[in-house]
């Protein structure tokens, strides 16, 4: 049975708290290419939701529109109950983002970078927050080294520290463990799990790493050619597709082994 794709990803807890993300009729074209073709979905708070799909499915475009980096052609976006991009300055202090396709200034030290972001997010006690993050992400020995001198794994931890500097209610992650070796990736996922468990935040992540999605995500949104084609918890998807791993589900989607 095809699920109702516009329903909340997971039912929000009782009360009037707005969902973390509400997207309705979202569309984006680049010339003749349809990048996103009418997305509707709701992500309740305190969940980890993964956006999954083959290259060119529209995942990064979707995240860029959610963050206000890209203007949609049609549709509405609400983050934490506020309309984007109209109310972006009410929302952005409570949100953060990390992507391997973006960097931090390489010649600045880790501490300098984090200090800049602590000020951008208006933290009252930046030194204390940097200390907390350094302890949490094993960055103590790296704080006074330029970001450009760090290994890929170390840089990714620094990027995560930047993304957590404001203790966001909603964290966007675009391929958080891309280019990391399995050990570094596993450690990073551990950091994320512990932070989310302690903070109770919402994580919205795009990933190609199926093991990562199975481990982190409460719910998966499957995208293909700009459309949301399926959704469900990893267990629901495995059952629906009759597969043992999400990777097999992904291949079914990517190779058109199933009709939607």
């Amino acid at each position: 049975m095809i699920p109702d794709l516009a329903r909340p990803a997971l039912r929000p807890s009782k009360g009037v708290i707005a969902p973390a993300i509400e997207v309705s009729g979202l569309e984006k074209r680049f010339g003749a290419v349809v990048a996103v073709a009418g997305l509707d979905f709701v992500v309740p708070r305190d969940r980890t939701v993964a956006l999954l799909g083959p290259n060119g499915a529209g995942k990064t475009t979707t995240i860029a529109m959610l963050l206000g980096l890209l203007e949609p052609d049609r549709g509405t976006i609400r983050l934490l109950g506020h309309e984007m991009p109209k109310s972006r300055y009410s929302v952005l202090p409570r949100v953060n983002f990390s992507s391997p396709y973006l960097d931090l200034p390489l010649r600045l030290t880790v501490r300098q970078n984090l200090r800049v972001y602590a000020d951008l997010y208006g933290l009252e006690e930046p030194a204390q927050r940097i200390k907390q993050l350094a302890a949490m992400l094993d960055l103590d020995d790296l704080l006074d080294r330029p970001v450009g001198k760090l290994s890929a794994g170390q840089k990714t931890r620094v990027h995560l520290a930047k993304a957590l500097i404001n203790d966001p209610e909603l964290l966007f992650l675009d391929e958080p463990t891309a280019s990391l070796d399995p050990d570094s990736a596993d450690r990073l996922r551990g950091h994320l799990e512990r932070w989310r468990a302690a903070r109770g935040a919402t994580i919205f992540l795009a990933s190609h790493n199926m093991a990562e999605v199975e481990r982190l995500a409460d719910e998966v949104l499957l995208m293909k050619q700009g459309r949301l084609i399926d959704r469900g918890s990893p267990h629901e998807l495995l059952a629906r597709y009759g597969r043992r791993t999400l990777e097999e589900v992904f291949l079914d989607v990517a190779r058109n082994r199933r009709q939607w």
């Binding site: 202090p93 396709y101 973006l102 200034p105 800049v116 208006g122």
Partner: protein, 272 residues
Amino acid sequence: MSRSRPLLLSLRRIRAIFRRHAYLVFASWPRLLELVYWPAVQMTLWGYLTLFLQQESSLVARASGLFLSAVLLWDTLFRGQLGVAICFLEEMYARHLAHLFVSPLRPFELLIAVFAISLVRVLIGVGGAALLAVPLFGFVLPQALGWALVPFFAVLVMFGWAIGLIIVGLVLRLGLAAESLAWGAIFFLQPISGVYYPIQTLPSFVQPLAWCLPSAAIFEGMRTVLVQGRFDPQLFLWAIAMLALWLVGGALTFLALFRSARRLGLLMQVGE
């Protein structure tokens, strides 16, 4: 964790961006040296040319600071523009702009910070060259121009910011392929700004174009101070009027190009 309330204008966010660029400038002596190097080379060249011409020309003999003042004020304009452009280019080289645009930083806070760091760069670069002119040529810029130096300096720096905004908008829209504009575009204005000669020297059909530039009125005003020993308020008011138009035009152009870049998804892609 405590977090201050969202403000319309946050000095802390402005300070954050200022700090980000100040870390770069002050952490590296080659960068500091580079700021002073070209203004000093230009000043030295024109200083010796002045010494030579003083033997040949009564005008230059009467106003020995003409070329030195001109080169230092031109560098004020050039460095003001470059300071704005470099700040954005640094973010693009670092693939960092998108991080800033998803932070609570507002565009005008970013611009205020960038203008402030541009001012610091001008003061270091042009100030360093002006200081060097004292022992080399016995030329003291504040003494030559008097209090008029302050308004001349202010108009030229702000005109540089206005041009910088247009260039940054173009680089955001066209990508780093357009980065050479940051270094060269302003030199298109140099011949018609009358930096080293009066505007009336230009062909008559170019003169109306020249008067659309605040820099033309400032360099004319500079010559009036140095040759006639008086400050021409009319020229200065004209410069202010043109500056206002350029600042509004620069800001609107930047916003239009920024929105276009956002619509086309270019803000995520900028980088080397």
